[in-house]
Symmetry: C2
């Protein structure tokens, strides 16, 4: 039985109890929402992450960090250090997006190391192996893909990104849209090239039942990706994006009918005035499926600072109902992120997620802010360090200095104001 | 005649022509809005900034950076370097908030150096001089203040922050509010202490006509500050903040009647779900006066990253109609900003301002994003560098590398997809 089916039958398991307690949610409510697909808990039985995470309605907004081998010469040690940095910075999930090197070894090592839900994008490995063994991504056969998908599932991958909604019916609209950046989704581009070359439809769509079978067997949560994800603000909410979303909505239904947990991936580059619309459209068309957005990057013009453009977009998206924010690092658009970029990307996304939680009224969010403000009132440096979203950043913070304090000989104006409010005595 | 009066009489001056042209606004519309107080152009005749800036309805969202001597031992050279860094990072205005050292020398040097509107907070100097010469800020006499205000105006200060709406009628509410952080406004605290000690009302309020006279004489734009600015998310939109806003609205009327340009300063710490309300409330109560917000800092819990918490808040505030974003640096809440913090603070605020401009539909904002996306489509590195909001950041950017490219021997899947869209040939 899958987690969704257990929730539907009202079987309270320690996993539901734990996630509900961590989130200050009534366990019955949590299970109702898992049963209805409004909440997912990616939890492959072959991994059983020590720190399971729920994503969805009424839970805190989560953050996911992506790492992976991008070239055969990349070192696994470097990627593992990035994983550690992402965890230290407080990510809620890790995605291994390796496209080169020994991908099996990388994934297995990362799964063992990560106490959080671990995600992959299995067509990356499938295409990469086709290139290595057959000389071209176009030589991939659907069975190759399913072997890799099952291998990854058996290794304990908790959630998988799949471009199942990309089908050939979308191509006409995609071409007519004349987008500035046609396809920025790597997996989507490769799949589309494969489909056009072979004159066949997308096996991730036509063979979706096979995907559901593997997902059922290993309790893999599906994370359906948007091949038509806009890569430019100008392309946001174009017709092909909307058309793909309609198909995603269909697949949400099929997945839920199979008892398979499913979430939906979203953009990408989205101007601020279209972010709430994008989120609310997904929530409606995909029947409340948890929404996993990539940023969104709220403007195209600030390369080198996309952790900030995405923090702005992520806070807006989260406030509108998005559930998981895929981090964007300062290296986005200009290079590959190093460990420092990973750390900074996670922290920026966590800030956005927390701002979203304040807007959503997530239990405890307002109280965290309140405690920090009280610590400031009391000039309690240690409490401020403990409460800081990134404690590391405050390591050297010692200052209790009062701005403007000249130790007035005769009398202190600020002390007079403080006394009126019956504040603690002002110490000059 | 003041600028506002000239606009009211329809006298088109080169200043109006220049500002209108820079902002792609019809000059008649600009003048109508200056006449009505919806737009201000801080432009002291004794400074005449070479790069004048308009703030307000239909203009691009602006950024202001604050620097200044904070201790007698601070070096003016260091502060001038911060000024240069703020300008290099693209600020639209500078505030000299010096509270120590040779404040006259600092201000005069900075005014000469800065081709942008220069603002001050004259009670800082007034109180600081009272401390030096009389041993206590409480010994300040109103005439001392007016001498300093006029000295600053004669030096060419373009806009001045004044806590004129803080009057003793607000104290009862302020105490009853039991805010977490009673007063975080330094100038407000000093004034309140002074008022309580002397049992007198605030001379910035009771003698507002004197302020208007000086402002008229030197074309100083008033920037009325909010002494009750919330310093904690929990204190946002408390009764004392709202009550002070009502008084600010009264002073906007009086200022406009005197032909004196006026804008209103705003928070401060504001949770995301209260930001739009805060801006819209100011716009209504203060009859559309340009709103100059400090951040706003959207969550209290991320010290060390307040350029990000403020970028999120600033984008939301700007999208709701705020006109100028006072930068917040990464040093906020933990120390004094160095030159690097200043640079980073300005860039983060500029990102927020541009995201706000996208939301506002400011002419050219969408087009800037479009050009950057087109440069990405064309893999034109030089164009991306030229278009980047912070070009410095992209100095070392060389990469034209294609992710996932393995130079497939047999055929390239991405090329097949690209050909479908009639993209440029894919170069492996």
């Amino acid at each position: 039985m899958t987690l969704m089916e257990m929730a539907q039958r009202g079987q309270e398991t320690p996993l539901f109890t734990l996630v509900a307690r961590n989130e200050q949610m009534n366990v019955q409510l949590l299970m109702e929402r898992v049963a209805a697909g409004r909440i997912v808990i990616p939890y492959n039985g072959h991994h059983k992450p020590q720190k399971p995470q729920g994503f969805g309605l009424g839970l805190s907004t989560k953050v996911s960090a992506s790492i992976g081998l991008a070239a055969d010469e990349d070192s696994l040690t470097d990627e593992l250090f990035k994983v550690d940095e992402a965890i230290r910075a407080g990510t809620n999930a890790i995605m291994d997006l390796s496209t080169a090197g020994n991908m099996d070894e990388a994934r297995r090592t990362i799964i063992k190391r990560v106490p959080l839900p671990l995600g992959t994008l299995p067509v990356y490995q499938a295409f990469a192996e086709a290139v290595c063994t057959k000389g071209s991504a176009l030589a991939l056969e659907p069975e190759d893909f399913f072997k890799i998908m099952e291998r990854q599932a058996a290794d304990g991958v908790d959630f998988m990104a799949l471009h199942s909604a990309l089908h050939s019916g979308l191509f006409k609209t995609a071409k007519a849209d004349q987008r500035v950046l046609n396809l920025v989704s790597r997996g989507g581009s490769l799949l589309m090239g494969w489909m056009l070359y072979h004159g066949k439809d997308n096996f991730l769509y036509t063979m979706f039942d096979r995907i559901l079978e593997i997902a059922q067997k290993y309790e893999v949560t599906l994370s359906l990706a948007d091949a038509m994800r806009p890569g430019a603000g100008a392309d946001s909410l174009c017709r092909s994006q909307a058309e793909e979303l309609v198909v995603l909505g269909e697949l949400v239904k099929r997945s839920r009918q199979a008892g398979v947990q499913i979430m939906i991936k979203g953009p990408g580059h989205t101007p601020p005035n279209q972010i709430a619309t994008t989120v609310k459209l997904e929530k409606q068309v995909c029947q409340g499926a948890p929404y996993f957005v990539f940023g969104p990057v709220s403007t195209d013009v600030a390369p080198g600072y996309d952790e900030i453009t995405a923090a702005i977009g992520g806070a807006m998206a989260g406030a509108a109902g998005a559930d998981i924010l895929c981090y964007v690092t300062p290296a986005e658009h200009i290079g590959y992120p190093d460990a420092q970029d990973v750390y900074r990307g996670v922290v920026a996304a966590r800030i956005a997620a927390h701002v979203a939680d304040l807007a959503k009224g997530y239990p405890g969010a307002v109280n965290w802010d309140l405690k920090m403000s009280q610590a400031r009132r009391e000039q309690n440096i240690e409490a401020q360090k403990t409460l800081a979203l990134d404690r590391e950043r405050l390591t050297g913070f010692q200052s209790g200095e009062k701005p403007f304090c000249k130790k007035c000989k005769n009398a202190c104006a600020m002390a007079v104001a403080g006394e009126f409010f019956q504040e603690l005595p002002w110490e000059c």
